[in-house]
Symmetry: C2
Subunit: 600 residues, 2 copies
């Protein structure tokens, strides 16, 4: 079925919740107000619906091939990537000095969500390229920036992130790839990297790998890792392409999902290029600070993967709604018709669709509010405002990543369920989202890694101060809700119960993080799910008030009616999950760790 970009809801979030008009008051973003957002999102929708979405199912079926180190992309991907470059979509949020358009993330994230929903596999190439650009902007020398960034921003070249090795996944301290400095200041890189998304392909003439490796005398552990640029083809001083570097794609993986995105095993230093043994690499920033740079890039990547969760959920939701409208089966349980009806009329089908929808809308609101915080943090002239926004953004990143991706597995599974037996038949298409989504809670840091981040750096390090400040803002929102009509009053009560549960858990986390870390980390994923459910629910509470006001004013009546219904469902069904999570965290730590390891 055809994909429709969720422009109306994105614009609602951007305007009413993320506050694009305030972002547009930040110097540099003067032209990035609501009208710009609207124009850009509508243009983006045309591109993604027309060019990218039609390659989603075909890419799953014919997902390219590997032959002796050469990877052919899925049919149509090369042309679509050229169109993406031509349209300027790669550089939407990149600095104008490198050819980008300098738009805020609040707009850019919404466009990226559309591309991801249209075709998750396709979108990854652009996402990874964006991450590589970010790393170079953060720590690259002027020479590296000038040589590589413009062609990446324009979409002429793509980029990758090379972190994982067979023995080093979540634990990058175990990275073993080697980098040996040469007399000319370059390095020779050798080693094997795995799980490299778009590590090899034929969509562009060059690929810029960003690679973690160790110099011979580096300290052990994470403090001895450096970051290098390793281009597939060396780049001459005049910008033309030179010799084939010594990086070789040994194979691509047969995966459960996102099949059209080639996941490469890359071998460095096997003397398979034109430069002798050892891939030529260029140090990014200083030696031994690679992980630090990579983490900056990883925060951006984690945010992006969170958006992938929203996107694949949106696509699955649209697919399920279309089927539920079409499929006629059984009479209504309330006896309102004597004939069989479309299954969308059945309460349990509605429950499934509403669950999907409420999660998506809550996640999208949280992600776009997060994007606005990012824009403020990076651009606001008042340092105190910027710092506060940065703290808020950093708190949100594990929530956006963890919640949206864990839920995407639930949402795409519900999408299959709505289809009944047809959902299990691959040709129907619902199964693809279910398969695609399953990587999302894993890559760029598993949910447990996000939860560790939330517990450690984001909660206990400041004694819960950030968490409690957010709870304070939520309490304000409750006050506003409580002063309104019945629907808002009910929501205020539900939000208050959720916030109080959150505060109990924050106290538990802070009190036990040092003394009883096993109990805290046994509940860390539950804590992440609780917190993000609350923060997304807070946004849905804000949305509820806006929607009531707009509806009263007669604006966008069907949309606002639906928003109110979805927010109410969020309160009744999604916020309701928090009580159980709280109990499991506060009283369930011991029974997680009680089992002797040998008894499993």
């Amino acid at each position: 079925m055809s994909f429709r970009a969720p422009v109306q809801d994105q614009l609602f979030c951007i305007k009413e919740l993320a506050g694009i008009d305030q972002i547009a008051q930040i110097p540099g973003f003067e032209d990035a107000g609501f009208e710009t957002a609207q124009a850009v999102l509508e243009e983006s929708a045309k591109f993604n619906e027309g060019v990218v979405a039609p390659l989603n199912w075909s890419g799953d079926q014919d997902h390219g091939s590997w032959d002796n180190g050469v990877v052919k992309a899925s049919p149509g991907f090369k042309e679509a990537y050229a169109a993406l470059a031509e349209g300027g979509w790669q550089g939407l949020g990149q600095p104008t000095e490198y050819g980008g358009q300098g738009l805020p993330k609040t707009i850019g994230a919404a466009c990226v969500e559309q591309t991801m929903a249209a075709n998750l596999s396709f979108s990854l190439c652009s996402i990874l390229t964006g991450g590589a650009i970010e790393a170079l902007l953060t720590a690259g020398s002027d020479e590296l920036k000038t040589r590589y960034i413009p062609n990446m921003v324009s979409g002429k070249w793509t980029g990758t992130m090379n972190l994982t090795e067979p023995q080093a996944g979540s634990d990058l301290a175990l990275v073993r790839s080697k980098a040996v400095k040469q007399e000319d200041g370059t390095y020779r890189i050798s080693g094997q990297k795995i799980f490299i998304t778009y590590g090899e392909h034929d969509m562009t003439e060059n690929i810029v790998h960003l690679v973690l490796a160790r110099t011979p005398d580096a300290p052990e552990g994470v403090k001895g890792i450096s970051l290098f640029v390793v281009p597939k083809f060396l780049v001459n001083a005049d910008g033309s392409l030179g010799k084939r570097n010594d990086v070789y794609c040994a194979s691509i993986e047969e995966k459960l999902g996102i099949k059209a995105s080639p996941t490469a095993v890359l071998v460095y230093g096997d003397d398979k290029g034109e430069v002798g043994a050892g891939a030529i690499g260029y140090l990014v920033g200083e030696e031994n600070r690679g992980l630090e740079y990579m983490f900056i890039m990883m925060n951006a990547a984690r945010y992006d993967v969170g958006v992938q969760g929203i996107a694949v959920s949106e696509r699955a939701y649209q697919h399920a709604v279309a089927y539920a409208r079409d499929r006629v089966q059984s009479r209504p349980v309330d006896g309102s018709a004597k004939e069989s009806v479309a299954i969308i009329h059945h309460p349990d089908v509605k429950r499934m669709l509403m669950t999907m929808r409420a999660l998506i809308e809550g996640e999208r609101a949280m992600a776009l509010v997060g994007a606005a915080a990012y824009d403020t943090a990076h651009n606001h002239p008042d340092a105190a405002v910027a710092k506060q926004a940065q703290t808020f953004y950093e708190f949100l990143v594990p929530l956006i990543k963890g919640f949206s991706t864990e839920n995407s597995v639930e949402v795409t599974s519900l999408g299959v369920q709505v289809h009944g037996g047809m959902g299990f038949i691959e040709e129907t298409g619902a199964a693809q989202y279910y398969r695609d989504s399953r990587i999302l809670p894993i890559y760029e840091g598993t949910t447990a890694i996000q939860a560790n981040d939330l517990v450690g750096r984001k909660t206990s390090r400041d004694g819960g101060a950030t968490a409690k400040a957010i709870a304070g803002q939520i309490a304000d929102c409750e006050g506003q809700l409580a002063a309104r009509g019945a629907a808002c009053q009910k929501y205020a009560k539900q939000l208050k119960a959720a916030r109080e549960s959150f505060l109990q858990v924050v106290d538990f986390v802070c009190a036990n993080a040092k003394g009883n870390p096993n109990a805290v980390f046994a509940g860390s994923v539950n804590y992440l799910m609780l917190t993000s459910n609350l923060v997304a629910g807070w946004q849905m509470g804000r949305a509820l008030m806006v929607a009531e006001d707009k509806l009263a004013a007669g604006e966008e009546v069907p949309f606002m009616t639906a928003k109110i219904a979805t927010a109410r469902f969020y309160g009744d069904h999604i916020l309701a999950r928090i009580a159980s999570l709280r109990d499991a965290i506060l009283d369930g730590g011991d029974s997680v760790t009680a089992m002797p390891v040998e008894a499993f």
Copy 2:
């Protein structure tokens, strides 16, 4: 990795919870005490571990083929099915007069769980054959029984259930296949059936289809459906095979999972056999009572699908544990080691494995207690005892089907997550369980269909009497727990809270089933999940007491220690889910149905 049948836990459930020694006091089951159970389960384990399990992954990869109506089974399946027949496994629970072994379901279900866990796709052929035997035993004439059952019990022939048509899935009232009576008393069947598991294959010389169809003058709806036996090859009076009947496999489906089980589109009456146009069928029982017979068979099939959920979960759990023991990554959060450790030591990995384990053990206990109720219902000489057992069994069937299968999606997803990035690579094997499990909440009645059954026939029809009687038994268990040590006392408290939530919901369901059916059915799946969580948790509470006593007596120390840890986890983490479900049911009906259909 190699599969180990969970014999020890199965025997624990059979002996301590299902009460096999009481089953053995029922006439006809005198030889079916604990020692028999032990001997049979150990023999079954050898067969399933050695013969069936090794074909699981290979079957997923090379899942047979269709060519012009002929379906070749996956390599090795034919030989394995012959071995299953040779070992007498098909007839384990079937009547001795037809060549079966007449063992109780309490033992048979455990053996079947092993086969399903070893190889879900393979097991389905035997399961469907069992369902077809059950239908013939229930309603077939003596002639049909004599002609077909012995060869099905022996494993010489297999059987199928032909219900679904393109327009008739959950709603069998829409079945359109035709059956026209001939002068000789046979019928000519025509129409198209879809989703027919093992509808065509080359594993045995004949296939006995049980087919729902309408006679020309049948009333509309479910009361005009009749059941027919349609053999692939006609059977001569002497038992030899005759002409090829007019049933043809038009295609097999490309599915998300259980790929090695051919899912056939069967066309009846296209004159593709040797009997002219119209497949020759034989009426089972009386005309227009087909759905009634099919429902008897379907209850057995639903129970079996519930066991499939347990089985695939067990397999995923074993796979995940093996990986978690092997994979070394990161230092312990409690600082107990300076080196990276196997990930099974990390609290969040333990949480995932314990969640998998607790769900599996709770489900298995509930299923085997259900099997004992079935045995009592069908064989106990005291009619009152039998009737009570039947009522209990019928209440349990939707719980066993719904809970075990919904959870199997969660458990197999956790299984992937434990593997991290490797879980997404097909070759690792974890993804297969995730794919395979996804059909389980769909076929033999979706979870919503199970939930409708629970709400309607099983709860509101008797005004909640059965539900409340079960709550009474749970209250007794709480009393026993409360009189013991700290762990049991805590469990008693958790069980009490869960039971009280259940009673609130039962009252809500009974009060509103007629007046506000939309609100009740909006919460029906949540009600099913709540109820089954409680009933399984009740069994885990019983298990906790037994395990404490055994441990005190020094029996099976590692097993009983683990059982106690798992039961405690069930109380802290799984029973904890009930509060949220209760709130969503009692206060969330309106927001499920508030959204206008056109606004989705």
